[in-house]
Subunit: 150 residues, 2 copies
DNA sequence: AGCCTTTAGTCAAGCTAATTGACGATATAG
DNA sequence: CTATATCGTCAATTAGCTTGACTAAAGGCT
C-alpha cells in the first residue's frame, strides 16, 4: 500500500534513532575534547566502558565488546600508547594479560561519566523528566533480546 | 557525587541509543540481504534515502547526507556500477549531474520501505502502539536542532 | 613423562568508509 | 573578459575494523 510515488524518505524509526544517536555522539565528542580527552570519543573510547576498576582480562574485553581480539588489541595498543591503560601479565596464567587503568585513565573515566550526565540533563531539559524516563525505558525494552515470542 | 568506585558502565542514554540503533541496522541488513539487495544495508544505502524520484543534483546529495562530495561520489560510483542509479548531465549547467534511480533502484526502494515498515511493526509489537508513538515523538524532538534557548 | 587440543595473545595484510588535497571545467559577478 | 566561486573528478591517506597465519602456554589424556 502506501503509494510509492514519493517514498517516505526519512520518516522511519531507524532514521530517528540514527539522527539522535549521531547527535549524542557529536555532543559527547565535543565535550570530551574540551575535557582534554579526545581519544575517549574515538572507537577505542567505547572499549574502556568495559574495563572495570580492578582490571579485566583482555579476552573478557573481547567478549564484552563484540569485537575481534585483533581489533581489541589494536585499540588497547593505542590506549596504552596514550597512557590510559596498562597491561600486566597474570602470574597464575602466563598466557593472560590483565588490562588496568592508569591514574590518567581513571581521571578520564570520571570526566566521561560527568559529561554523560551532562548530556542526559540536556536531553531531560528538552523532553521533560517524565518523557525522558519513558524514552529510556522504551529503548531498554527494545535492547533486550526478544528471541522467543510464543 | 556518585561514588566512582564502580562506574555506571553501560547505563546511560547514549549506550541505549547505540544498542537499539545497532539492532535496527542489523535487522535491516539481514532482511535486505534476503530481499536480494545486500548493498542497501551498506553505507552507500544510506545515500539513496536522499534521492528523490525525479532525481537530485549530486551536490544536493552532499548537503543532505552530510558527507564530503568525494565520499558521495565514491558511493554513487559503486551504486552506478551495481545498476541502482545513473548519472545524467544537466543540460542547463554543464557542471551539474543529476542522479536518477534505475528501475532496479526503484524496486529496491520499494523493498527497503517494506522492510522498514516490517521492523517498525516488530518494534510496535514489543512496545505497544502508544509507547512506540511516544518513543518516535521523543526522538523527533531530540533531533531538532535546539540552537536557541533564551 | 609425552602428545593433542584449546585458549590467549600477537603479527601481518587487506577491506570499507570516509577523509584531505589537488585539479579541470564551467558559471557567474564585477 | 578576467576573477572568483561552484561542481565534479582523481589520487592518496586515515580510521576502524576484518580474516589468516602464528607463538606460547595450559590442561586433558594415555
Amino acid at each position: 500500500m502506501t503509494d510509492p510515488n514519493e517514498p517516505e524518505l526519512l520518516e522511519h524509526i531507524g532514521w530517528r534513532l540514527h539522527v539522535v544517536f549521531q547527535r549524542w555522539k557529536t555532543l559527547f565528542a565535543q565535550k570530551m575534547v574540551e575535557q582534554g580527552c579526545p581519544w575517549i570519543a574515538e572507537a577505542r573510547g567505547e572499549l574502556i566502558q568495559h574495563i572495570s576498576r580492578k582490571g579485566v582480562g583482555q579476552n573478557v574485553l573481547v567478549e564484552r565488546s563484540g569485537l575481534t581480539k585483533q581489533a581489541v588489541q589494536q585499540h588497547l595498543d593505542a590506549l596504552a600508547a596514550d597512557g590510559v591503560i596498562e597491561r600486566v601479565s597474570d602470574p597464575k596464567d602466563a598466557r593472560k594479560k590483565r588490562v588496568l587503568f592508569t591514574d590518567k585513565g581513571i581521571d578520564s573515566l570520571h570526566r566521561a561519566n560527568a559529561v554523560k550526565r551532562e548530556i542526559e540533563s540536556e536531553f531531560i531539559e528538552l523532553l521533560g523528566k517524565k518523557e525522558f524516563a519513558q524514552l529510556s525505558k522504551a529503548l531498554q525494552r527494545l535492547s533486550d533480546p526478544p528471541r522467543a515470542q510464543g
